[in-house]
Symmetry: none
Subunit: 410 residues, 2 copies
Amino acid sequence: MDARLTLISRTSVPNAKKILLVVIDGLGGLAHPAYGNQTELQYARLPNLDGWVQQRTTATGWIYPVRRGVVPGSGAGHLGLFGYDPLYYNVGRGALEAADLETDEIGRGDVTGRMNFCTVDAEGKVTDRRAGRIKDAVRQADALNQHVRIPGVEIQVIPMKEHRGVLVLKGGNWSPKITDTDPQQVGAVPLGSRAVTAGDVAAEKTAEVVNEFTRQAMQVLKEMGPANGVLMRSFSTAPDLPDFNTVYSVRSAAISAYPLYRGIARVVGMDIIKGAADFKEEVALLAQHRDAYDFFFLHYKDPDSRGEDGDFIGKVAALERFDAAFPDILDMQFDVLAVTGDHATPSVMSGHSHHPVPVAIAAPLMPEDNTAAFDEPSCRLGVLGQMEGGDLMPQLLCYSGKMGKFEGFA
Amino acid sequence: MDARLTLISRTSVPNAKKILLVVIDGLGGLAHPAYGNQTELQYARLPNLDGWVQQRTTATGWIYPVRRGVVPGSGAGHLGLFGYDPLYYNVGRGALEAADLETDEIGRGDVTGRMNFCTVDAEGKVTDRRAGRIKDAVRQADALNQHVRIPGVEIQVIPMKEHRGVLVLKGGNWSPKITDTDPQQVGAVPLGSRAVTAGDVAAEKTAEVVNEFTRQAMQVLKEMGPANGVLMRSFSTAPDLPDFNTVYSVRSAAISAYPLYRGIARVVGMDIIKGAADFKEEVALLAQHRDAYDFFFLHYKDPDSRGEDGDFIGKVAALERFDAAFPDILDMQFDVLAVTGDHATPSVMSGHSHHPVPVAIAAPLMPEDNTAAFDEPSCRLGVLGQMEGGDLMPQLLCYSGKMGKFEGFA
């Protein structure tokens, strides 16, 4: 555990106060020349958010979810906001994709590989890396689970959407530090996996198992075309992060309509509340489960998607939809309410950016703040100042009375 | 040594410029609804401080003495301001309490235990943990120093005020990682001390010595009631921190009427100028010793005490008393003068808080600043910005010309 989380875990104390952290994906924007040099937040009509930040108990600022000069991916941005410094805690995309599977069939210590069912020709060369995007490969996965046998190794294949699946090597004896078998091009044969580092015995053994799996799988799937082959990549193992609830002395839950964000929350140890297909249903779930937890992470996806498309007006509309739902969130009366984003997605850039993201926190005992609107220029002058992702959680704990006095470690 | 102090210690250079750091304990406050939603600093009449920050050469800002989202205890807040990151340097309350003894009889490496002289009945059960709060236990300490004999072990008992004392195990062979003998309740017999971690040989040996000391002490004190027993707790050893004078290239001294703050200063290696019973006498001592040092830490306690009591008007009055004394400090013409606090103690919270604390620095070559008053909202907009405790000392060195150019370590 790094020094910051060590301090927090030794100092945090549970109480009944309720915290809600709303993450608006891709919240931050930039001035767009085609729209009066305004940002999406400035251009949007957001009467509820603006009224909220004008309240005496709401303060604003800017946040760099990882740190200045870093363009956060979805995983890194959220981990930063959750207080897990992505420079310290090694969590790769593979691990987040695996977590995002939302299956109890993967345990801590299991090694997973992303699998494509593919089409190979008579010589074993790949002719279609996605097997014509078949609807699913449930039949193929069943066949592999039934017929592939490697002595002393417990293997499971989990079918996913379309041509996708996951290979799971159960138990703690395997290493994810092996190379892909996916050649990433047609006309090539699947690659033999190797240890990333020569002499890494656990990785060498794991690569042998993967290669034997590939050999047997090609036999089992022979007559099951178009999905008559397998390619694997992004081997990973679930990261062993400090438990969110233990560090922060909370009972936490995550609500998102999108599996990736549920996966990130699961990796840090939050409970996952499933069942929402869109943000409206997310808010309904929040109301329904409000009493059962004292920390909620609520995720709103749309502004990022529209920003990625370079769709300024679409992002504005997404922000206005959030604003329309916001009174229902305010009605739930959380003791501490924070609204921010995991990174900026300026539509003028059509992608994630390093730019800072507005943040607002409402809580009792907040220093005076004169923010007039929830947008980038207004929040820049707020009393929270310019902070990094890791500063957010301890402040939410302080404002909810969940942080004791820090006297030193000894 | 952490990277920051390593950089400073390799870059700082001595010169004749004089720095004064004034720490107003619990300086920061919050708006109080009963007093026009003003903070203590806003409500107080502080003509001298306000006039000082309005000067062209004075700039202001906000400081988080440890970092955002941490509620500093007294030790952590001061260590933060002194540049010793409390997340890196392990200094516990026990070590600060021991340092606060202000006795040259405790050396680096000695293990100390806080001692209560207590009253025990015929069966050895504690009937009064404080021996009726006797005036002092000098007679008992003398008897123990004369009669307790453990072969190969040098032991000293130092009597303190009332029923308190300190057990010192001299030399570097002992470990403080042992459990208390104080059962913290009457009716129980003193506990046997044990190593915190089984198998820790140094700690196990230390616990044996402590238990033998207790056994002999009970014999020696038998007829000396009401103080006829001893209880020990908070075993510690002086932390081995980098020397303040060496790191910062200064000759430093601390002035405080309160032992805890002298103890903190002693732990980092400052000289201690004793003899002040109140702040007025502190200022007189400062004038008297001004020429002998080039760095002074001057501590003013009262605002914290009144804030802890939830006494808004009392804290305001304490701040106004500081303001009345401030011209005498200005008259001493320090080259660099900084005024800040070790943490906020908002009277509306009756305790330490995580909130930022105003800071002001007066020095030549200061960027332009338009601060109108020494209060939280005004200082927030000052040119020093929002900084952390560790940012303060290197800036004071820079403003006094004590920092050379940093070219890198290699």
